[in-house]
């Protein structure tokens, strides 16, 4: 009876951990198969252990080129979306202006639209304007769909800011520029950083909008998509594993630093 009850009490824990296992399982598969030496072009069945792909991650034509292209687009899209999005977020929280409802809907709608609809409509615009599809059209598209997410992230942070801190700065004879740079911006920074990180991740991993608007430009997700038809090189798994490890390491180090800083301020 007691066992049964403890099982029932922990049912949610068991179910939750099972879900977590489902979430992490594909990453394990990706990692394990980065050490595979497949027979033939597709890396879906385990054959035998090999370090070949790890020794030569750029050994496949165009793979590392597409990776660096994706990184460049993601960096520029992050920059653009973060600057534009932060400006909108400050305007929304700190000022009164006409057409606030319209502005809010314009920011909400891109997030409530299936990606394929945005992708297709943007393509009709570019086709009608006779624009050449490539780096620039992809960058424009990425800034467009990252913008709303940055606004949301920054807005949440600025809303929770205590306005009295800025009043205090003004009372202490800080000019508007000084108040902004030394008080407002540092407090808003975590929100801006969160928005920028989100924008980077969204842009780097975007496939559908890029698929429509890239022309013959091949970003990393486009390369993976193409390889799913032609044959999946093991190097894809190497890159996937490396990205995972680097990102988790960055997050853990960040948590450690934040934790230590919190401990220090407590002392």
């Amino acid at each position: 009876m007691r066992l049964l009850r403890s099982l029932r009490r922990n049912l949610v824990v068991i179910a939750g951990l099972l879900t977590l296992a489902c979430l992490v399982l594909p990453n394990l598969v990706v990692t394990v198969f980065s050490f595979n030496r497949p027979n033939g072009r597709f890396n879906y069945a385990w054959q035998r252990f090999s370090l070949d792909a790890w020794k030569d991650p750029c050994g496949v034509a165009d793979l590392c080129g597409s990776l660096s292209l994706s990184l460049r687009i993601a960096a520029l899209a992050t920059l653009g979306a973060t600057v534009l999005g932060t400006m909108i977020a400050f305007a929304l929280v700190r000022y009164r202006f006409r057409a606030r409802g319209a502005v809010n809907s314009l920011i909400f709608l891109p997030m409530a639209m299936p990606e394929v609809v945005m992708a297709a409509s943007l393509l009709t615009l570019f086709l009608n304007m006779g624009a050449e599809l490539g780096f620039l059209t992809v960058l424009i598209a990425h800034i467009m769909f990252c913008l709303s997410f940055v606004v949301t992230a920054v807005k949440a942070r600025v809303l929770s800011m205590d306005p009295r801190l800025e009043e205090a700065a003004r009372d202490l004879y800080a000019g508007p520029a000084q108040t902004f740079l030394r008080v407002t911006l540092p407090i808003a920074a975590p929100g801006i950083a969160a928005g920028a990180l989100l924008a980077f991740a969204l842009s780097f991993d975007d496939f559908i909008i890029t698929n429509f608007n890239a022309g013959s430009t091949v970003t990393f997700p486009m390369f993976v998509w193409g390889s799913a038809q032609r044959g999946t090189p093991v190097q894809i798994n190497v890159i996937g594993t490396a990205m995972f490890v680097i990102a988790v390491a960055v997050v853990l180090v960040g948590q450690l630093v934040a934790g230590r800083r919190r401990n220090n301020t407590r002392k």
């Binding site: 992490v24 299936p114 297709a120 997700p221």
Partner: protein
């Protein structure tokens, strides 16, 4: 507790009039517009204007060689819908099923992280977000290995006679999962699960655990506590999570193309191939518009019904 948490900060909206209202120069009054201008212009030109172009494209006729001209040919819509309604129905069905599965799978995990994880909470949160760092296409391809014919999952489900049942329901075929509706729904569920878990976690995390204790003190069973306290208070998370899952899932074609077969094509696949391979722009634009209208309709009705309009 840090110093910024202690005083209850007045909301920023109330604080605004405290600034000198009188004598505000025109230049100052224009500040918000200057802040908004570049970003809003970007969204107008690259989000709103494309919708206009798409609307115009959908009522054009012509050919690639002679060019397309607006002829107000609304039959394109009727034809497109008549030709592709199976894909529409399938998209909504798959996306709906995946959303439901995400809710059923995601809720326990979000609950676990919010209330039961203790010092493991941050680690679990990192594990939920971490898969994002590997390109979702690579992770989706990994399901080809996991669900492979004769693989461990297929063998286990076959041994348990689960595949017999699912075959009879038409979800799987001939003792395989790949290239069946089940594989596509599985891929959709997996891909959008974090979008369900994170909003659920956020709203569960806001619930004061003392409410649970109070319910217990008032002789509520754990089930009753969940039904009358936890679930209603987590509704904003449920609504946000289901929307964040359903909307992208309904337009997705990646899972259908990578894990499915020609019998599991969703409307996204059709739009993609009409636009990029067949180059029948009017039909593609019409399909895309119908999808948009359907999704907006579903979302609006859903938000009205669940009474969470303030969520926006």
């Amino acid at each position: 507790m840090s110093a910024t948490d202690t005083p209850p900060a007045p909301p920023a909206e109330e604080a605004a009039p405290a600034r000198p209202v009188r004598g505000r120069s025109l230049r100052k009054r224009l500040v918000p517009y200057w802040l908004l201008l570049p970003g809003i212009l970007w969204l107008l030109v690259f989000f709103a204007l494309p919708m206009v172009y798409q609307a115009s494209t959908s009522v054009q006729t012509g050919s690639l060689e002679q060019g397309f001209r607006v002829t107000w040919h609304f039959r394109t819509y009727a034809d497109a819908f008549a030709d592709y309604y199976p894909q529409f129905v399938r998209s909504l069905l798959y996306a709906g099923t995946a959303t439901l599965l995400c809710l059923l799978l995601g809720y326990p995990l979000a609950y676990l992280i919010a209330f039961r994880a203790g010092r493991w909470r941050n680690l679990l949160l990192v594990l939920v977000i971490a898969p994002f760092f590997t390109s979702f296409l690579i992770r989706t391809l990994a399901w080809k290995t996991i669900l492979a014919d004769g693989g461990a999952v297929v063998d286990a489900l076959e041994g348990l006679h689960v595949l017999d049942v699912t075959s009879r329901l038409g979800w799987t075929e001939d003792n395989r999962i790949l290239a069946t509706p089940m594989a596509v729904v599985c891929g959709l569920t997996y891909n959008f699960l974090p979008f369900m878990i994170l909003p659920l976690y956020t709203s569960l995390d806001r619930i004061d655990p003392r409410l649970h204790e109070a319910a217990g003190d008032l002789y509520a069973t754990p089930a009753a506590t969940f039904r009358t306290v936890t679930l209603p208070l987590s509704m904003p998370g449920v609504v946000a999570g289901t929307l964040l899952t359903f909307i992208p899932a309904s337009g997705d074609y990646v899972n259908a193309e990578l894990l499915g077969s020609t019998d599991t094509k969703m409307v996204g696949s059709v739009i993609q191939s009409q636009f990029l391979r067949v180059l029948d722009y009017p039909t593609a634009a019409a399909l895309s518009f119908i999808l948009m209208a359907v999704v907006l309709l579903v979302v609006t009705v859903y938000i009205r019904r669940s009474g969470t309009e303030d969520l926006l």
